[in-house]
């Protein structure tokens, strides 16, 4: 066979080891980026069919998402909840579970945080924020932890159960904000009472972006360390790679699955808390803004690698931030950005079938030729 690029003849061992190292990692980068580009190209055709210029569209998208300090701040604000929502997909995915109901944990996390804020109104600022965060994380953790427990102990499909539980969570939120937790003063939009101003999470100094961005980035880094560097992460990767092998090794698969799902849900619940404490000021129907679903796309684009989630969430945040500009300048409907996200997602799912097909990414095939 002749494949000049892959021929290792006359290469020093160190250089070929480095090349192998790069090749093994390049696949997980090149394929998603390629899929992203193909998805955007398909979307261009869609735009062209509408009689608009794709070039103008991507130009506006760039300017709306990243072209000015104002748009960058807008982008980063949107990226903050996406980081946490994507972790809610990526962590269970490392154990082989496809959880798509992070929206439910976000919504309940927000309501629990708002309820906590009402209960402890008047407490010192730091105590209030921490207790709100804990309440939100607990609610989200229980919600997604239950999905993991149903999966492991009762063999209920986690994709279906998490999706259905998201609907239950939204219904529960509507019931609570329109009933027991409603602020009688909120007439047009039923909401919980505004939280104590001391509990509001403010902007990062020098930016118009709230602290949730930092929290999300820290959560991503911590998740990466957990998976790549600790015994629990290693055990989870074994269980995700082959649950029978994990059982044969005597690893406690049930607690691992429930634990990782609960942690994933806690991150989503934290996203809900931040929506309440940094954006809305109370819990209301706006909590179900679809961050949980955008998080699915972010996690898949990042191949469930928590570090890769950071740039991908910022990219997706930028695309979402440009929606308003597209609407105003090109007279495109509000849903345009969602069409783009949907197209990218379909191409990403298709690209999953390409792994292992390319010789250049597979050093194990190079040596057979020698």
């Amino acid at each position: 066979m002749t494949d000049i690029a892959a021929s290792p003849v006359l290469r020093s061992p160190a250089a070929s080891a480095a090349l192998e190292w790069i090749a093994r990692r390049a696949e997980g980068f090149v394929i998603p980026v390629g899929a992203l580009i193909v998805g955007m190209a398909l979307f261009s055709m869609f735009i062209a069919l509408l009689g608009k210029s794709p070039l103008q569209l991507y130009d506006l998208m760039w300017r709306g998402g990243f072209g000015s300090w104002f748009s960058i701040q807008n982008t980063l604000s949107r990226a903050a909840p996406l980081l946490l929502a994507a972790l809610c997909v990526a962590l269970p995915a490392r154990l082989g579970l496809v959880v798509i109901g992070g929206e439910g944990a976000i919504v309940l996390g927000g309501v629990a945080a708002a309820a906590m804020a009402v209960a402890i109104s008047g407490a010192p600022s730091a105590v209030g924020i921490v207790l709100m965060a804990l309440a939100g994380m607990l609610a989200g953790g229980i919600w997604i932890g239950a999905v993991g427990a149903l999966r492991h102990y009762r063999a209920v499909n986690e994709t279906i159960s998490s999706l259905l539980m998201a609907y239950i969570a939204i219904a529960l939120m509507n019931h609570l904000v329109e009933g027991p937790l409603r602020d009688p003063a909120s007439l047009n939009k039923p909401s919980t009472p505004l939280i104590d101003p001391a509990f509001v999470v403010g902007p990062i100094p020098g930016m118009d972006v709230h602290w949730g961005l930092v929290v999300g980035i820290v959560a991503c880094v911590m998740s990466w360390v957990l998976i790549e560097k600790t015994r629990w992460g290693f055990a989870a990767r074994i269980a995700g790679g082959n649950v029978r092998a994990a059982q044969v090794q005597g690893l406690a698969v049930g607690p691992l699955i429930v634990g990782f799902c609960a942690l994933a849900g806690a991150f989503a619940g934290l996203a809900g808390m931040l929506e309440v404490a940094a954006v809305q000021g109370n819990a209301n129907g706006s909590l179900a803004a679809g961050y949980g679903y955008s998080g699915i796309l972010v996690a898949f684009l990042a191949r469930h690698n928590p570090l890769a989630i950071i740039p991908v969430a910022i990219l997706l945040g930028g695309i979402e931030a440009s929606g308003g500009l597209l609407q105003r300048r090109m007279d495109l409907p509000d849903a345009t950005v969602q069409v783009l996200q949907g197209m990218i997602f379909i191409v990403i799912l298709f690209s999953e079938t390409l792994y292992g097909r390319f010789r250049m990414f597979n050093p194990d095939l190079w040596k057979r030729d020698v």
Partner: protein, 514 residues
């Protein structure tokens, strides 16, 4: 003189000759100019290790693959076989290793629906009459009115062969036809098939790993090695050693350690008492009243697959809950948790290691660390995983156990079956081993890997490990075990020391005649 009327052509055996068969998949040559001649009415055996190209060759003959080069002649005429349908119309058929019958239908129903020309409305009275007349001419006697699911494995295999004959096929490829049969059933089925070839009704090309079957039933053999023709000859003129030499070429074969005696006072390591557990259907019970495995002995468990061995092993490995009874290791109750396995030095090697003992996409180094990743160099539990130490440890084991891998960072799925098993053995046999539980360790592996892996197990035994070996390969059990037990219908029904073990008696107990 009365000349008998000529039999209809479809009742005669068909001869097949394939010449210069070459099959390339991309840049990989699976079959390289291989020729095989199977004259009408002969019983031909096709031998070779896994990946030698046997199934590629027969798939070309059956029209599943289109060979890159080569011709096929049927009864001396060159033919084009573009699809399984073409093969069928020439009278060529194949019996697969695993059953293809519909379990809920009767034998008669299975036969009739397998025909190409089934009418939309089946006249069962007429079909039954036709079938009765057909069965008259068959040497096989089979109950055709019970659901196939209720037949024994040997009967199912006979029905598979009868089905091919019923469909008018007179050249049959049998792909390891006895792998699911007891020795008695295997003798019977192959004997009947051989009778039909002698009578000139049938030609057989049998893929087999079992030399004793080849010697007893086949006329000629063809051997493939790495996709190439490696030899052929008359069975009468070849002994097992010559056939093995053709199959493996000149690679060295690991020799078994000589067996040291089991001291009479060896302490029992594994003790199982009054164990009860549900089987996978939930309808039957696994019940093991008593089993002891002593230090320094290999206890083999024989049985036809599906008689509860797998479930028994899953109970021991902690993958299946038990209803009652106790499992003790060195006198301590054993529940297969990681901590217990670690303190009691219990190792478990399941069958098909890539499916059951590895995470295929994780690297070789990571897979080799599954047992020890959460321990420091001094054996203390740690929270942080040290990838450098894991790689160094794996590098050492790869060297010691001769695991062939392109790199420690290769996904373990990229390794060959034998090397995956070597990697798993390296992981599980390093350090002190008091109890080793192994299931079908050599299933699907090639000759040299099999010899080496058996040698490793024997070595562990000689070093004092108690070994519980479950295998569907009776030859393997006879080679390795100190005692053999037979499991049938979820219970241990027979026990014999190796000195008095007879294939005949073991086979009868496997079949449930006890």
């Amino acid at each position: 003189m009365i000349i008998p009327p000529p039999a209809p052509p479809s009742d005669k055996a068909v001869g097949v000759e394939a010449t210069g068969m070459t099959m390339r998949f991309g840049g990989f040559t699976a079959l390289d100019h291989v020729s095989v001649k199977v004259p009408a009415g002969s019983f031909h055996a096709l031998l070779g290790e896994n990946g030698a190209g046997k199934s590629t060759l027969v798939k070309c003959m059956m029209g599943f693959y289109h060979p890159t080069e080569g011709q096929i002649m049927v009864d001396g005429r060159e033919v084009a076989i573009d699809s399984p349908k073409d093969a069928s119309s020439l009278g060529l058929g194949m019996v697969y290793q695993h059953f293809t019958l519909v379990a809920s239908l009767t034998g008669a129903e299975n036969l009739v629906i397998s025909r190409q020309d089934v009418p939309p409305i089946i006249d069962w009275a007429k079909e039954r009459k036709g079938l009765a007349a057909f069965m008259e001419r068959m040497p096989f006697k089979l109950p055709l009115d019970v659901p196939v699911g209720e037949l024994a494995a040997g009967e199912k295999q006979k029905l598979e062969i009868v089905k091919q004959l019923y469909l008018g096929r007179h050249f049959l490829v049998l792909d390891e036809p006895t792998s699911v049969l007891t020795p008695g059933e295997a003798q019977e089925v192959l004997g009947l098939v051989r009778g039909m070839t002698r009578a000139g009704d049938l030609t057989v090309l049998m893929i087999s790993h079992k030399f004793h079957e080849v010697t007893a039933f086949a006329d000629d053999i063809t051997v493939l090695r790495k996709g190439k023709f490696a030899g052929s000859g008359k069975v009468a003129e070849l002994d097992h050693k010559a056939m093995a030499a053709m199959m493996i070429g000149d690679q060295p074969i690991a020799a078994l350690d000589s067996r040291t005696g089991v001291p009479a006072d060896a302490r029992p390591i594994l003790t199982v008492r009054a164990l009860r557990a549900p089987d996978r259907s939930g309808l039957k019970k696994i019940s093991v009243d008593g089993l002891d495995v002593k230090s320094g002995e290999i206890v083999g468990i024989a049985g036809i697959s599906g008689n509860g061995q797998k479930e028994f092993l899953e109970v021991l490995a902690g993958q299946r809950a038990r209803d009652a009874g106790e499992v003790m290791v060195k006198g301590a109750p054993y529940g297969a948790s990681r901590a217990e396995a670690r303190t009691l030095n219990v190792r478990f090697i399941p069958e098909e290691p890539l499916r059951n003992a590895c995470a295929p996409k994780m690297t070789v180094a990571e897979n080799m660390a599954f047992r020890t990743f959460d321990l420091s160099a001094t054996g203390k539990p740690v929270s942080w995983v040290n990838m450098g130490a894991i790689r160094a440890y794996a590098a050492r084991l790869v060297e010691q156990f001769k695991v062939k891998t392109a790199s420690l960072s290769s996904p373990i799925a990229a390794l060959s079956g034998g090397n995956v098993q070597r990697a798993v053995l390296a992981r599980e046999l390093t350090g002190d081993v008091d109890l080793l539980i192994v299931s079908n360790p050599c299933f699907g592996l090639d000759f040299s890997a099999v010899a080496e892996i058996r040698a490793r197990i024997m070595k562990a035994r000689n070093a004092g490990a108690a070994v519980l070996l479950m295998s569907e390969d009776l030859d393997e059990l006879l080679e390795l075990s100190d005692r053999i037990l037979v499991m049938s219908d979820g219970a241990l029904v027979y026990e014999t020391p190796i000195a008095t073990a007879s294939v005949q008696t073991i086979g009868e107990h496997m079949a449930g005649h006890h």
